[in-house]
Amino acid sequence: MKRNILLLCVALLCFAGEPAAFAQDDLKGHPSCPYCGMDRKQYAHSRMLIEYAETGTTGVCSIHCAASEISVNRAKTLASMRVADYPTRNLILAEKAFWVIGGNKAGVMTQRAKWAFKEQEEAERFIKENGGRHATFHDAMKATFEDMYEDIKMIRERRKARQMKMMDLKTFPECKYCGMVRGKYAQSRALIEYDEGTAVGTCSVHCLAIDLALNTDKMPKAIMVGDYSSKKLIEAEKAFWVLGGSKAGVMSIRGKWAFEDKEGSSKYIKENGGRHTNFDEVMRASFEDMYEILR
């Protein structure tokens, strides 16, 4: 009897484990979206898996990229379209899912979000908490195409803005003082613009401090630093700074890292230690640490 119960338990465990394993299998086969290049694991809650009768499967990050996929491959026969259940991330049939369009949660590749739920109650709970409206898969797909032109324009604008924030790496590929490749140290680099029109690119606040020390006759107009996470240039004065922590600094033992938002700096501290500070203290610390390096 005991053996039978044990066998039954093992069998149940196998069956229970199988859908979960299957639900995540697509991430191994399709780790990134072929259209936007985004990591599908990061967007596991919005990802889709498209299966064709003629060929295999395609994994995308969202219904936005699924729409691009089916437009390009309209000559192929769709066997199935699966989407992630928003709360569990398990794949479910897109046609049978309860969809929510809109709401205050930021959408994936779109300004107007589209989420799928296996259970109607979950969709209702989401709407209660975050807004949005109930929809069918057909409604969600129709809305995706309707939004696509505006979304493409938005994505292009965002990417253009991001590129602009990385342009300094082309203008100043190397640090003026230590010669290090600034692209390699994009997360710590600095850019200083002086009133009289000149600008200098450095690898870190350490070399920035040297530049300031050498050019006391010049008036800085703007000082920018690389955001530790996104690497785009942000205003040094407005950045959320972290001093210290377990990660070694650039040209300095004590790390000095800048973040665009407090969420980023707090997360860093939680994972690596260090403490919150401002740009003024970071500059002071840079001069203090300089002596230590020379020593």
Binding site: S71, V72, L78, F145, E146, Y149
Partner: protein
């Protein structure tokens, strides 16, 4: 005097043929549509030619396939997009063209046609003869995306039916 007239005529002929040659250059470069494989020379009246920043170009049969190209290349910034004038078939700037959405003439790769005209009078004449509505490029492109779902579904349904028929025979 006669010599001047002949010379003038030659100049006009030269300019005309060069213009036509230039206008057709994109068809030589992209003879068929990347997405549907259709002959761009045959669909010169609806074809689109895209020049991206960085120098790459793409030629499609219609605004429908141009929309697909945009959807697939969101990281590229279009520098210039041109479309075939419905009557003369020469390329015109999509932003400056006068567009007509709909009408009785069947569209290219879509149920709801989208045509471009270099001159407003031509667009208006088309509307009076064939129906449809005057539109901007922005509206035509938006409509191309909106119609894409229905057009895609229509083609897939057709193929499905054809497969079913083959199975029964």
């Amino acid at each position: 005097m006669k010599r001047f007239v002949a010379f003038g005529f030659l100049v006009v002929c030269f300019l005309f043929t060069t213009g036509v040659a230039l206008a057709q250059d994109d068809i030589k470069k992209h003879s068929s549509c990347k997405y549907c494989g259709m002959d761009r020379g045959k669909f010169a009246h609806s074809r689109v030619f895209i020049e991206y920043e960085g120098g790459t170009t793409e030629g499609t049969c219609s605004i429908h396939c141009a929309a697909i190209d945009f959807a697939l290349n969101i990281d590229k910034i279009p520098k210039m997009t041109r479309v075939g004038d419905y009557n003369a078939k020469m390329l015109v700037d999509t932003e400056k063209a006068f567009w007509v959405i709909g009408g009785s003439k069947p569209g290219v790769m879509t149920k709801r046609a989208k045509w471009a005209f270099a001159k407003k009078e031509d667009a208006e004449k088309f509307v009076s003869e064939n129906g449809g509505n005057l539109a901007s490029y922005e509206q035509a492109m938006k409509a191309a995306f909106e119609d894409m779902y229905a057009d895609t579904k229509m083609i897939q349904e057709r193929r499905k039916m054809r497969r079913m028929e083959h199975k029964h025979h």
